[in-house]
Amino acid sequence: MRILVIEDDKDVAAYLVNGLKENDNVVDHSADGKEGLLLAASENYDVMIIDRMLPGMDGLSIIKTIRATGNQTPVLILSALGDVDDRVEGLRGGGDDYLTKPFSYTELLARLEVLVRRGSKSGSEKVTHLSVADLEMDLLARTVKRGAEKIDLQPREFRLLEYLMKHAGQVVTRTMLLEQVWDYHFDPQTNVIDVHISRLRSKIDKDFPKQLLQTVRGAGYILSEDS
């Protein structure tokens, strides 16, 4: 991936750049708002990470400016906890995702992954059918089958599985699940999501030789064919 990081905090920037480079990404970094905007406007990136508070020009203005030029590159906004809570504002202002510092690297990586995939898929018509290995989901009839066997799911379990299948092969974190499946934004801290995952797992994986839904230690879950 080609990633632009606009972040003035040296520690966070170094941590981001090093981490992302280690994961085989090409990373550009700017510590100044105006310089960052110049880079964002002139180069082609897969995803941009922009801090809200920057010298020169604030993060939201940068996003508004590049969006005004028709640039649809996904943007992940970083914000220090303590700025006026502004997730909604940030997302309305053109950001695609929002992460509050301090964040864990895996959380960031998982979110970037999702953003980039979504960006590359954008424009395709509505998906009505999802499948991972022999697990199939019909979004219109709202049915799920594993092989020939029909699986009964509760509405929330259905949405959980739908999200996992849409992001098959990607790590999804607990916070992401709570945001996307339950539509609430906070860090759950407890194993409450794990319980739902294990219930889902018992329905889609338990009686089958191949386990599709895996736990990624310290990060979250992944639904994948090859495990």
Binding site: P102, D187, T190, N191, V192, V195, H196, G218
Partner: protein, 451 residues
């Protein structure tokens, strides 16, 4: 108390005035009579019986409408001289002072009965001399004084009573104000101050001193809070770095045992960060910067969602989890914060309730307030500790062995504060009942009304 003292002294003073006036007047009357008698006695000594009679006649004639009363009688009470016709019926015949009534029967030139005072003398030979005065005026004056004093006493008492009551009422009121204010302050509203009336009296002095004391306390508390917030803020960054480095290490560690250890270290760091974050979040909520996220949303749906999210966790612990949520209740507030708050409460309930227990999540639409309630059958919180659990890092003795940072309820309280709502803890016999009470009218925080 002061009133009784005051009344007594007024009573004594008035009594003295009365006694002095009346005494002076009656002694004057007596002295006049004595003087007359001395005069008459001299005449008697000089001119004998006839002289006495003629002097009496002369005096009566000289002053027919006077106040002097004379009667000189023979042994059988037959009048020899004087200006009354016969011996007063209610009068004594012995020597000495005598009070009687002058009326027509005595041949006194008057329409009404008049009080009189006289002195009786037995003249040698069994003759009786009565020298007196009409004391009607004196009696009238005495009565007037009496009435004036009575009236004055009445008014004084009424005024004293009224003044006393007013004074004690205003004193009681001011003490009450101080009491109530202190109670509210003790209940947690440290920003309150005792009103200063500007009269510069003892109460104002007391109020000012108490207020200054409160200012100092607030300053100290803020200092402590500042330090803890600063620590949380300053330590968070290095702690994050540490955590991230551990996480990086985790990806490169080969041995399973090492992986587990590092993963545990990451989890510990996460726990620490969570504590710091909670502390900072509370600090920020208390400053009130979060209000910008207020929106009107379906509280019933929120309760439903939270219930559904935690039901599975509760069932895993063989607990009975029931939802009693009234439909279509909307509220103005921060949806994420309230969800987090409710999750926090449910999470606690599940944690502190043993296997096989009950948890009830309910939302009810009362007349004046909305009540969002989590009731469990767990270990509960002893009554004397219920106020303390809202303090940062406070943990109930019984639960110290269980995981937790002692910030959960502080956060709940802070969230409820920005919603201008309350948290109520009560006994669920057994267990704990936590009620989030949203008053219906004041749902809109003042800060938002101005937007």
């Amino acid at each position: 108390m002061y009133m009784v003292l005051f009344a007594t002294s007024v009573f004594i003073l008035m009594g003295f005035i009365y006694w002095a006036t009346a005494g002076y007047m009656s002694s004057q009357t007596d002295e006049t009579i004595e003087a007359e008698i001395i005069g008459l006695a001299e005449q008697y000594q000089r001119q004998g019986l006839n002289g006495l009679i003629s002097v009496i006649r002369e005096r009566v004639a000289r002053d027919p409408n006077g106040k002097a009363v004379y009667l000189f009688t023979a042994r059988d009470f037959i009048k020899l001289a004087g200006n009354i016709s016969k011996w007063p019926e209610d009068g004594e015949v012995q020597e000495g002072w005598l009070n009687f009534t002058l009326n027509d029967g005595l041949g006194w030139h008057t329409e009404e009965a008049r009080p009189a005072r006289a002195r009786v003398f037995i003249v040698p030979g069994g003759l009786r001399l009565l020298v007196g005065r009409d004391v009607n005026e004196f009696m009238a004056v005495k009565k007037l004084v009496e009435r004036a004093i009575n009236f004055g006493m009445g008014i004084t008492f009424a005024l004293a009573m009224f003044g006393g009551i007013m004074m004690s009422r205003s004193t009681a009121k001011r003490v009450e104000i101080i009491n109530q204010t202190s109670q509210k302050i003790m209940a947690g509203n440290l920003s309150l101050r005792i009103p200063d009336r500007g009269t510069n009296d003892d109460f104002d002095q007391l109020a000012r001193n108490l207020n200054e004391m409160l200012d100092k306390i607030v300053q100290l508390m803020e200092g402590i809070r500042h330090i803890s917030d600063n620590i949380a803020h300053d330590l968070r960054t290095p702690l994050t770095r540490l955590r991230n480095q551990l996480e990086n290490t985790l990806m490169n560690v080969e041995r399973d045992q090492d992986r587990q250890n590092v993963a545990r270290a990451v989890a510990e760091a996460d726990q620490l960060l969570a504590t710091f974050n909670a502390l900072l979040r509370i600090a920020r909520l208390e400053v009130g910067s979060k209000i910008s996220n207020f929106e009107t949303f379906d509280l019933s749906a929120l309760a439903q969602d939270a219930g559904e999210l935690y039901e599975a966790l509760s069932e895993d612990k063989q607990q009975t989890f029931s939802l009693r949520v009234e439909k279509d209740i909307t509220i103005l507030g921060d949806r994420d914060l309230l969800f987090q708050t409710l999750c926090n409460l449910i999470d606690n309930a599940i944690k502190y309730t043993p296997e096989g227990g009950n948890i009830v999540l309910s939302l009810s639409n009362g007349e004046k307030e909305l009540a969002l309630e989590v009731a469990d059958s767990g270990i509960g919180i002893p009554e004397e500790e219920r106020d303390k659990v809202f303090q940062r890092f406070y943990r109930v003795a019984k639960s110290r062995s269980l995981p937790g940072n002692g910030l959960g309820l502080s956060l709940v309280l802070a969230v409820m504060d920005i919603h201008h709502s309350k948290v109520r803890l009560s006994d669920n016999n057994p267990g704990l009942k936590v009620t989030l009470v949203f008053p219906k009218k004041t749902n809109v925080p003042a800060a938002l009304k101005n937007v």
